[in-house]
């Protein structure tokens, strides 16, 4: 479907509800609709077109446009563009109809907007708190412009979160808020009958950091990439690239080709070590520690390689708007190739061992089912969607960096279960080796040193950009509305776990308690991304402080 087709369809069906449309950037379509027409518009997109829901973004635009805005973001994967439904809410009593009854996946987005901006959604099926802490005072909305980022409101400990009532005949088994195999704070409240899970309730966001608020209020465009990278301790580079791409898109900045390839290499290295990490954790969850130990052993050389390339094991600090900070010198290419080949060999051995392991398959097959329709309804992404036979991958659908120049396959499976997700991840890793090797070929040909475009002009205000980057866990979407003062007016991060996590109740209902941890694990949940919280990796080894001079001399030596 072309943008024109969509526009005429919407115009015809919505009539007066359609207020106008623009194309801010070539891969975007911006449609303004009246609040009373939004449910119908969403229904048309969700049910009659191949559009896939991404996220809803709320924005306080009372200063610039005298309104609150809600943007519902959709993508047309196979036609490579995004469409945004722009809905205006009253600046004094913001209230618009909820779309959650049409798309289940909008549930969290709308609750988040309500929590942070105070925009009410009529007919929302589950209007409980999502993001704010239980003791946060009612009617204090932290993402409104008048709320200062450093403000600490009074605590109201008498407010309690209301969990679902026990279904009759069930007892509660709590998995969380601190549960060993989940590693981060999250709470799944299971209602069980013997070993069978009858229902489940969720409470999360225990560690919300308010990173987006910092982006809107104190940080500048050049600082945010470093903050964005700290959203996640595993796939931080993805967030970093997503943000840089946003600004480059909005201000029309051309990135040197060599930087594109370097970003691609780092993204794929991240995918490789993330999938190795996941496989280990999944093994650990079901008690298979041999998998954990072996995959993490294989992962270690990749981490060392990242350190050699960027100076850091993780949180590379490589990206700036316009390019990257460090080149990968040609002399390093042979070593990267050797490491890739070694890991690929070991990974093939893992594949062999895993695919014929009957006990492993007994635990993973036909568990945690989420089919195509379920994925569409919840807007699930990444390996969860690909294991449900949905051919969806931002690297192909919205090519960025150098993915248009490398050859790789999108791996899918059709078993809809935990096993399918496992297979997808293992095979995907093999594709990553291919991508890295092809990118290294390109690095050998492109001139060394041309890695960043200097930005001379200010980033213009009022521009809009959306970027989708395929993280190991699925597609990571960032949204940007540029503002004055060299910082965003609104920056929204939608990490892959955000749409995947709400699918858990559907996946675990009717399963056994023993399956819940591995089902939750199968989406590779990254609570830190979802809650935009920092994961700190504390190294207990010796700490040495390097002085400014030493550091400068090092930089000189290695650049």
């Amino acid at each position: 479907m072309t943008k024109q087709d969509i526009l005429s369809l919407l115009k015809a069906k919505l009539g007066a509800g359609f207020m106008g449309s623009t194309e801010p950037i070539h891969d975007q379509l911006w449609v303004e609709v009246k609040p009373e027409a939004v449910v119908q518009a969403v229904e048309i997109l969700h049910r009659q077109t191949p559009a896939r829901y991404l996220v809803s973004v709320g924005s306080d635009e009372r200063d610039i446009k005298k309104r609150f805005a809600v943007y519902h973001l959709f993508t047309f994967d196979k036609d490579h563009f995004f469409i945004t439904l722009d809905v205006t809410a009253d600046p004094h009593t913001p209230r618009i109809p909820s779309i959650t009854n049409v798309i289940a996946g909008a549930n969290w987005s709308e609750r988040e907007i309500r929590d942070l901006l105070g925009i009410q959604f009529e007919n929302h099926p589950d209007p409980r708190r999502l993001i704010l802490a239980d003791d946060w005072p009612a009617e204090v909305y932290p993402l409104r412009k008048e709320f200062d980022y450093s403000q600490k409101p009074e605590s109201h400990p008498e407010q309690a979160y209301k969990f679902k009532d026990n279904p009759p005949g069930t007892t509660v088994v709590a998995m969380g808020p601190y549960f060993p195999v989940f590693e981060e704070a999250t709470y799944f409240r299971l209602y069980v009958e013997g070993e069978k899970v009858v229902d489940v309730d969720y409470r999360g966001f225990y560690a919300h950091r308010g990173i987006e608020k910092l982006g809107d209020q104190t940080l500048t465009y050049n600082q945010i990439p470093f903050m964005a990278e700290r959203i996640c301790g595993i796939c931080g580079f993805v967030h970093n690239v997503s943000f840089c791409k946003l600004v480059e898109h909005a201000a029309d900045i051309k990135v040197p080709r060599r930087a594109d390839f370097i970003r691609t290499i780092m993204l794929e290295l991240e995918r490789i070590h993330s999938h190795a990490l996941w496989l280990g954790v999944a093994g650990h969850i079901i008690g298979f520690d041999t998998v954990l130990m072996q995959t993490w052993r294989m992962r270690e050389p990749i981490m060392w390689l990242c350190e050699k390339i960027t100076g850091n094991r993780k949180t590379y600090g490589m990206n700036l708007i316009g390019g990257v900070r460090r080149d990968i010198p040609r002399t390093l290419v042979p070593e990267i190739r050797t490491k890739m080949n070694n890991m690929e060999k070991e990974w093939l051995a893992v594949l062999d061992a895993v695919k014929d392991d009957t006990t492993l398959r007994m635990r993973l097959e036909k568990v945690g089912i989420l089919n195509k329709e379920g994925c569409h309804e919840w807007a699930a992404v990444g390996p969860v969607a690909r294991a449900a036979d949905l051919d969806m991958d931002a690297r192909k659908d919205h090519p960025y960096c150098a993915y248009d120049a490398v050859d790789f396959k999108v791996i899918t499976a059709d078993s809809n279960d935990v096993w399918g997700r496992t297979v997808v991840r293992i095979l995907e890793t093999l594709e990553s080796f291919k991508i890295v090797n092809q990118s290294l070929d390109a690095l050998m040909e492109l001139p060394e040193g041309d890695i960043i475009t200097e930005i001379r002009q200010d980033i213009p205000a009022g521009r809009i950009a959306i970027s989708a980057v395929e993280a190991p866990r699925g597609e990571d979407v960032h949204f940007l509305l540029t503002g004055g003062n060299n910082r965003p007016e609104r920056w929204r991060v939608r990490c892959p776990t955000y749409p995947n996590l709400p699918t858990i109740p559907d996946m675990v209902r009717g399963e056994q308690v023993a399956d819940v941890p591995i089902i939750v694990g199968s989406i590779d949940p990254c609570f830190s991304c979802t809650e935009r919280m920092e994961v700190v990796d504390v190294d207990s080894g010796k700490i040495r402080i390097y002085g400014q001079e030493e550091l400068s001399s090092w930089t000189a030596k290695h650049s």
Partner: protein, 296 residues
């Protein structure tokens, strides 16, 4: 009396060495260096020196822990070492009671703690012992049928004096398949299931009390390997004296390493999947019994 004392000491202070070897072996498969061989001793010492934090629901406190360890030790006294058992006053019936009683103590502790994880773990422990303990029972009955005696010392001599017996071998294999679950090793550590129940019946148990349960488990490892090696696979390969003792020790190590190997190359099964396997093991044991009845 002296023999009993020596046997109790041996059970208490040699069994952690076996656990240490097992841990080293697992580390080898994991590509790890692993803890020092004597780590189980230090672990026990450390746990014994800790405060005893108890669930506020608990009425029994550490009592089941004492009973369970005592039961395991008494069972150990009945196991023949070098031809006869340290405690001559008991037979296999008492042994079965003691092993069963030790599991009941674990269940009691689970029920006593008032935690939902412990309740789930206890339910699983109950299902496991109800299906797995009959394996031990049937295997020993088979041996009793062959030897016309309930005494372990008679059973231990039987195959050496009247040749290898098919039914004994089959029962031995069934027992070997069953002890994986008896010892709560993967893929059958389902009652404790660290990943989902965080220790199941033991979730609320800490410090010295926990040390006693763990010690009991470690001693059980030694007891079960001894039973297997002494009664069902008693061959000494024509060796005598010190060499025969060494051969027995080597066999114990083989049994323990087999258990360790299965433990390390398997994920945890679900209880429903494990039950199917347990029934298979029970059937194997019954086949052994049938062979014994027809005289093989």
């Amino acid at each position: 009396m002296l023999r009993i004392l020596i046997m109790v000491m041996a059970l208490l202070f040699l069994s952690p060495l076996l656990e240490g070897i097992l841990r080293k072996f697992k580390a080898l498969v994991h590509s790890r260096i692993g803890p020092p061989l004597l780590q189980p001793y230090w672990d026990t010492l450390k746990l014994l020196g800790k405060d005893n934090v108890r669930s506020s629901h608990s009425m029994l406190g550490p009592v089941p822990a004492y009973l369970s360890l005592a039961a395991v030790l008494l069972a150990g006294l009945l196991v023949p070492v070098g031809g006869s058992a340290a405690f001559a006053g008991g037979d296999m019936i008492l042994f079965l009671y003691m092993i069963g009683f030790a599991s009941v103590c674990v269940m009691l502790a689970g029920m006593d703690s008032g935690s939902p994880y412990a309740f789930l773990g206890t339910a699983r422990e109950m299902m496991t012992s109800l299906t797995v303990e009959p394996v031990l029972f049937i295997a020993l009955i088979t041996a009793a049928l062959k030897t016309h005696s309930f005494r372990f010392s008679d059973m231990a001599f039987y195959q050496q004096s009247s040749g290898t017996s098919l039914s004994m071998i089959i029962s031995g294999i069934a027992l070997l398949l069953g002890i994986q679950a008896q010892l709560s090793k993967l893929p059958f550590d389902i009652p404790e299931a660290e990943g989902e129940l965080m220790g199941g019946p033991f979730i609320e148990i800490s410090g010295p009390t926990f040390a006693l349960y763990r010690w009991g488990f470690i001693i059980k490892q030694l007891i079960f390997s001894l039973i297997l090696v002494q009664i069902f696979f008693p061959w000494t390969f024509g060796l005598s004296g010190l060499w025969a003792v060494l051969a027995q020790i080597a066999k114990i190590l083989v049994v323990i390493l087999l258990v360790g190997l299965v433990d390390v190359v398997n994920p945890r099964l679900r209880i429903d999947q494990a039950m199917i396997y347990y029934f298979g093991v029970v059937l194997t044991a019954l086949v052994g019994l049938v062979f014994a009845l027809v005289g093989a």
